[in-house]
């Protein structure tokens, strides 16, 4: 047992070290770990509107959720919208390939900065602007399409249940393609150039090189963007909430209501904390699974301390 006792110096060393991390640790305990345990507990209880008076009801909240067609629809909406949102990957890849191909120059710097611009614009401004861009009558997109079709196009990009998912996806891709481009571009530029030179000598053309060298070398970049894109998509809330006018129902016949909007509705509009906590747990499990895949792919926690 003697070697477990600390010398005075070691004790001092430990106290100093802990003085650097103790505030953050307490913060995480109080604001992350404890609330997370509360979420689990609430999800198994019936909770009064005031947030007190718990009554254990087992998995009733979960059963109740899955018996609601609106919740099941929110899950499927969220998955569909997340997958549609993955369009940012090919779009960003296309931008990156084009920007990369003009060579390292001032012009490349300009495009890099310019294409990333939409991502830096305050979200709420973007949503306000796109509410007008996507208007059925007189909106920019419909005007633009009318030019091509040759007759007046009237599509309710945000109101028509058939098109609303495309409407919000357009906004999502417009905002996030620049980010995807940046990640794609730095991945592209990390591919050793001599592979391409060797391929040129073997007589490969540009398309061969793209398919046989570039794309296989981008696998980890694509999977990173895929996983993080799905994680962001699952917790999607702000853009749809604002663009449909601060409405947790999401408008467009409910085709836009995501899981988080559903949770919001049952937390703050018609509070039923037990049900909304059960919804939160389901969201948590989805994100957890994806994050674990991400950790496996990127070797995040392998990093030795």
């Amino acid at each position: 047992m003697k070697n477990l006792r600390l010398t005075k110096r070691e004790l001092k060393q430990n106290v100093t070290a802990y003085s650097f991390i103790i505030v953050s640790i307490v913060t995480l305990l109080v604001l992350v770990y404890y609330p997370m345990i509360s979420t689990v507990r609430y999800s198994l209880n019936r909770i009064g509107i005031v947030g007190y008076g718990e009554e254990y009801i087992g998995l009733e909240n979960y059963k109740m959720l899955f018996s609601q067609s609106t919740f099941v629809r929110a899950i499927s909406n969220t998955l569909i919208l997340s997958i549609m949102g993955l369009l940012t990957i090919p779009v960003g890849f296309l931008f990156a390939v084009l920007i990369n191909s003009i060579g390292n120059s001032k012009l490349q710097g300009f495009f890099r900065v310019g294409y990333y611009l939409p991502n830096i614009i305050t979200g709420v401004s973007v949503y306000l602007i796109f509410r007008v861009v996507l208007m059925s009558d007189g909106g920019l997109l419909n005007n633009f399409l009318s030019l091509f079709v040759g007759r007046k196009v009237i599509i309710g990009w945000l109101a028509d249940p058939k098109f609303a998912r495309w409407g919000v996806t357009i906004v999502w891709v417009w905002m996030n393609a620049g980010y995807s481009m940046l990640i794609n571009l730095s991945s592209l530029q990390a591919i050793p150039l001599d592979i391409y030179d060797a391929a040129s000598i073997d007589g490969a053309n540009a398309l061969n090189k793209l398919i046989l060298i570039t794309i296989p070398n981008m696998k980890s970049c694509f999977s990173f963007l895929f996983i993080t894109g799905m994680i962001n998509g699952l917790a999607r809330f702000t853009d749809i909430f604002i663009i449909t006018g601060n409405d947790a129902y999401g408008g467009a016949g409910g085709t836009l209501q995501t899981i988080l909007m559903y949770i919001f509705q049952f937390s703050f509009e018609s509070p039923n904390y037990g049900v909304s906590s059960a919804g939160s747990m389901i969201l948590f499990v989805f994100v957890l699974l994806l994050t674990m895949v991400n950790v496996k792919l990127t070797g995040f926690l392998k990093d030795e301390v």
């Binding site: 430990n14 100093t16 070290a17 650097f20 991390i21 953050s24 640790i25 307490v26 995480l28 604001l31 992350v32 609330p35 997370m36 509360s38 979420t39 931008f95 084009l98 920007i99 191909s101 003009i102 495009f111 900065v113 611009l117 830096i120 614009i121 305050t122 709420v124 401004s125 949503y127 306000l128 602007i129 796109f130 007008v132 861009v133 007189g138 005007n143 417009w174 980010y179 940046l182 990640i183 990173f224 993080t228 994680i231 917790a235 809330f237 604002i242 006018g245 601060n246 409405d247 949770i263 919001f264 937390s267 904390y273 906590s277 939160s280 747990m281 948590f284 957890l288 990093d303 301390v305």
Partner: protein
Amino acid sequence: MKNKKKALYLTTIILFIMFLLIVLPLLWAVSLSFDRSAISSLPSFSLIPHKPSLFNYQAAAKMINLPRYFLNTIIVTTVNTCIAVLFALMCGFAFAKLKFIGKRFWYVFMLAVMMVPFESRLVPLFLQYRNWRLLNSWIPLMLGQFAYVYGTFFARSYISSIPDSLAESVYIDGGSEWRVFLSIIIPLSLPVVSTLAILQIISNWNAYLWPLVVISDYDKQMISVGVALFNSNEYATYYGPRLAVAVLSAIPLIAVYLVLQKHIVASVAVSGIKQ
């Protein structure tokens, strides 16, 4: 060789056209915001206002207290960024350079938080702050910043690469770890500081869900929520003023971006890959 040059020109032109298409909605919005004829119906498309005027901005100034929201957001963003970056550096330093019992445990304890989406603890966190009677203040927006997990991870890997020999002179003079941290580590970590600060400023400026939930007084609200609430109320049928508000609230971050463009692009690219 000639073909190569042609391809280069062609690609550049394509990139330019796509760039114009991307920024077209923004240019249109700016034009509408200065257009007196954009009231309850939209005028036909034009990048030059049909009836140029500042009316929409004057109307917006009466409908929404933007300066107040700006001020609130600037205060909270500044405080939050300073807290988050400082504590990320402190933790990063401890995990990179110091020896202590339970180091591995606490490191995993922190990183595991990344797997818990903020949204999944929204309800209990809200109730917790309500029990503490701290709702409708900025405190719930700020307390969480005392642990910046992603920043800790990022700072740790950067600080690890700072050679130990630099700190030795301080230790020899009898200086403490805090002395090393303040006089050696912080000055050498400025690149990390600026990257993390940029990421924090962007995310604080755009914060929406949490301020919406915890703050009920309009006077205390952040810019994103304030503008979205304005958008959803009855005045919002007037396009011109609404777009004037959209343009105004986009200006601060765009201004920062224009000044720090290369740096921001680099920060985002690096943070994305490491994430």
